[in-house]
């Protein structure tokens, strides 16, 4: 089959696959594994704390829109916001998933913008634009400018060089050749001065620090080649290397740009995740007025209001209200706990059923969340530095090249008969031939192709070297709740209830966000009519249907006597109709549909599997048995997980940690390489090297496969580059390399390396 056509359909298929995770009007099951799927509107925090005033008096607001991945979202959002009176411009950046809104009317409240986005089913979080590094954007653009200039110059000089080369074998006059050389110099000199800057700057700073990096031989080669070529032009010689010098810059800039581009994508993902932490909180002032306030500026003693579906911004004590609180991201427990007046609640947890007023006891760094982050930062910095393949190659490469060039120069000077001129030309030829053109492209090209291939599987590579480390992993440690399982309860089918009972229960369940209730409604293909209910947080709901009182909720709520703990760690919900016997619904946190398959595939790839969970042993063991995993640790606290990982790495194991909870974050940071599902806690996604989307675990297997394949490809590419050098360097030292041969060798090796990298894309 035609390969290009195949890869085209592949990427098309991938687009649609990715789009399924997106898309507007709050379709149930759109992405957020942990959130009970909200009917249409999603709650958004008030962004007014992040509105900035531009110098020309207009207001602007930057937002990250979480669930925007498909193009249809763009006009949807822009038109909806454009309809708000006063809004001047709303512009979506689809690549980065960000939204920029400007307006002049001071009467327009930022809350209207987020409310509009809510109504259309988008989760939007305002962020401080100054926080996201604009300097980096600038550097991206400078690199692209340099690339364009080098591309233009190398094409034009190459045209002139081809004329010179064909002139050399026919009857071109010396005057014409000199003229062409000088025109080449006219193009090359400014280009090298401009496009060479990234390399010169880096080489200079390395030299000043007493080190040698890859840019030193590059700069030296380019500068010497230019210098020698100018001298050749002056004495109307035959060989000038202007084309080689500029082409070298062009190829290396391509490699640099690919690398930067990939890092940029990574960076924007990381920045989005970081910005998500700084959600706005709603503070109730002593006067009773409510005000939006950046969460990181909360002080102990303040009172905050939290609506169902908003994360609690700081640790505190509840002073008003009652709600089921989903703490799964913090503790790994899949069932919500009840918080009433005087309960302690933690930052990052999620009230589900009622509003809460909370007095802040500790904020920002001092919260439980903050402490976990601290543990995570410490673990990340303690992680031993991983020497990248490219850096290891560079360490040997640069000195070798310099020694060879110097030896050539001295050899020709002492043994040759022509004096310093041929000696210099030969040394320049060595420097040009060895310039790590292919080497500079070998690894970025593979990384770019692999990132693209991973993206098709819904896998986002956050750190550039994640791919290389993924290839080295020999042990996989899984968290249970939310990773091996879906992290949400599912109704166990056919246990003592009738379809009528289920339908009745679903009518009540629709009005609450409690995960068990949501599971109940999910069990039915079509939803029955909802009834207005009365909700008692932590207990259940009740409604009057046809004059009869119907209750749905806990055992206590439905007046069912206790009869021992439920078997197998299952949780339950009772339905009580006035005048008839209570009915029980049992739920279990189901493993992801492909969990067993994934474990088996990983084992066949030669990896050892371990489960490390914060949940009760009675819930973990049956799952481990079902997945046939022997090494199991249950009831592990965040620091126990961390210790376990450190112990493993001391045994010389390279661990891939897959986890989603806040309690996994330190372990994720400490692991050799780590992955998180996109339903994970923000902190965990920040800590993980790789984030994958969707309901399946299969991306874990696919990532390891792609990681291994790309590592193989990188090594092949390095080998190709070295073979090329082994052939070309002796020729150059012998003085047989002319500018024509240099140009052919350079572009030939680069093309081979890039083609080899592209093979990765065809296979996967």
């Amino acid at each position: 089959m035609n390969r290009i056509a195949k890869s085209a359909t592949d990427s098309l298929g991938a687009e649609t696959a990715l789009n399924m995770g997106c898309c507007p009007p709050g379709q149930p099951g759109a992405g957020y594994g942990h959130l009970p799927s909200a009917p249409l509107a999603v709650p958004n925090a008030d962004p007014s704390a992040y509105v900035r005033r531009k110098s020309d008096g207009a207001f602007e607001l930057f937002l990250i829109v979480e669930n925007i991945t498909c193009p249809a979202c763009v006009p949807d959002i822009e038109k909806a916001l454009g309809r708000i009176p006063g809004v001047d411009q709303a512009r979506v950046n689809l690549t980065l998933g960000r939204l920029h809104v400007t307006w002049r009317d001071p009467a327009l409240q930022a809350g209207q913008i987020s409310a509009t986005l809510s109504a259309h089913g988008y989760r939007a979080i305002a962020y401080n634009a100054a926080m996201l590094d604009r300097l980096e954007d600038d550097r991206d653009r400078r690199l692209l400018r340099a690339l364009a200039v080098a591309g233009f110059a190398s094409a034009n000089i190459m045209l002139l060089s081809v004329s010179i080369w064909s002139g050399n074998v026919t009857d071109m006059g010396t005057a014409t050749r000199d003229f062409f050389h000088w025109v080449s110099a006219l193009i090359a000199l400014p280009t090298i001065a401009y496009a060479g800057q990234p390399f010169f700057a880096s080489a200079w700073s390395a030299l000043r620090a007493g080190r040698v990096n890859m840019d030193v031989p590059i700069s030296l080669g380019v500068l010497l080649a230019t210098l020698a070529s100018v001298m050749e032009s002056v004495r109307s010689g035959v060989h000038a290397y202007f084309d080689a010098a500029v082409m070298l810059l062009f190829f290396l800039l391509i490699g640099r740009y690919l690398e930067q581009n990939m890092r940029g994508r990574t960076r924007s993902v990381a920045a989005n995740l970081l910005a998500l932490k700084a959600v706005a909180a709603t503070v109730i002032e002593p006067s009773g007025q409510r005000r939006s306030y950046p969460a990181d500026q909360l002080k102990p003693g303040m009172t905050v209001f939290v609506a169902p579906g908003d994360r609690i911004p700081a640790d505190g004590i509840v002073i008003r209200g009652r709600s089921d609180v989903d703490a799964s991201l913090v503790t790994g427990e899949s069932l919500p706990v009840v918080a009433g007046v005087n309960s302690q609640v933690y930052a990052g947890t999620l009230p589900l059923t009622g509003t809460l007023d909370i007095t802040v006891t500790s904020a920002d760094q001092d919260t439980l969340l903050g402490q976990i982050v601290e543990l995570m930062t410490a673990a990340a910095s303690a992680k031993s530095g991983h020497a990248l393949l490219a850096d290891r190659a560079a360490r040997y490469y640069a000195p070798t090249v310099h020694v060879l060039a110097a030896a050539t120069f001295l050899g020709w000077l002492l043994l040759g008969s022509g004096g310093w001129h041929p000696a210099l030309m030969c040394a320049v030829a060595v420097l040009i031939i060895t310039c790590p053109c292919a080497l500079g492209l070998a690894i970025p090209a593979v990384q770019t192709v692999a990132t693209g291939a991973l993206l098709r599987w819904g896998v986002l590579l956050k750190s550039g070297d994640g791919l290389e480390r993924l290839a080295g992993a020999d042990t996989v440690v899984f968290d249970k709740t939310g990773t091996l399982t879906l992290g949400r309860p599912e109704l166990i089918a056919g246990t003592g209830y009738t379809h009528d009972n289920l339908t009745l229960a679903a009518r009540l369940a629709q009005s609450t966000r409690h995960p068990l209730a949501t599971a109940l409604t999910r069990a039915l293909p079509a939803l029955p009519h909802a009834v207005p209910v009365h909700e008692a947080a932590g207990l259940g709901v009740s409604a009057v249907i046809d004059g009869q009182l119907v209750k749905l909720g806990s055992r206590f709520w439905c007046d069912v006597p206790e009869d021992g703990p439920p078997e197998n760690g299952a949780s339950e919900l009772w339905l009580k109709k006035q005048g008839s016997a209570p009915v029980r619904f049992s739920f279990r946190d189901m493993p992801r549909s492909d969990a067993a398959e994934v474990i088996a595939a990983l084992k066949s790839l030669g990896l050892r599997i371990e489960i490390l969970s914060g949940d009760r042993a009675s819930a973990v063991r049956p799952l481990a048995r079902a997945l046939s995993v022997d090494a199991v640790t249950a009831e592990a606290r965040p620091d126990t997980k961390l210790t376990r990982l450190q112990a493993l790495s001391q045994q010389g194991r390279k661990v891939l940690m897959v986890g989603d909870g806040l309690n996994d974050a330190p372990a994720l940071a400490a692991a050799y390489v780590s992955m998180s599902p996109s339903s994970a806690a923000d902190i965990s996604q920040t800590a993980a090297d790789i984030v994958f989307r969707g309901e399946n675990l299969w991306p874990v297997v696919q990532s390891i496969r792609i990681g291994r394949a790309s590592k193989r490809r990188m090594i092949e590419n390095l080998a190709l580059a070295i073979i090329y050098n082994i052939i070309a360097v002796p020729l150059a030292m012998a003085g047989w390399v002319t500018p024509l041969i240099a140009a052919l060798a350079m572009s030939g090796s680069s093309v081979i390396v890039v083609l080899n990298a592209l093979r990765l894309g065809w296979r996967t």
Binding site: V74, P75, E78, G82, R83, N93, L94, T95, A148
Partner: protein, 50 residues
């Protein structure tokens, strides 16, 4: 062959024109959102009505 005295500057000038156009696009932020721009071209009809 004297014609190349004129032709070379002309060719270079045309090339520089292209380079200039690219750099201008870059400065104009046209490369900031490649993915979005690709789809805007086909979806703008509705937006124009507003």
């Amino acid at each position: 062959m004297t014609v190349i005295i004129y032709l070379l500057p002309v060719a270079l000038f045309l090339g520089l024109l292209g380079l200039g156009a690219f750099l201008w696009c870059l400065k104009d932020h046209q490369y900031d959102d490649l993915k979005g721009a690709a789809y805007r071209a086909v979806m703008d009809q509705d937006a124009a009505e507003d």
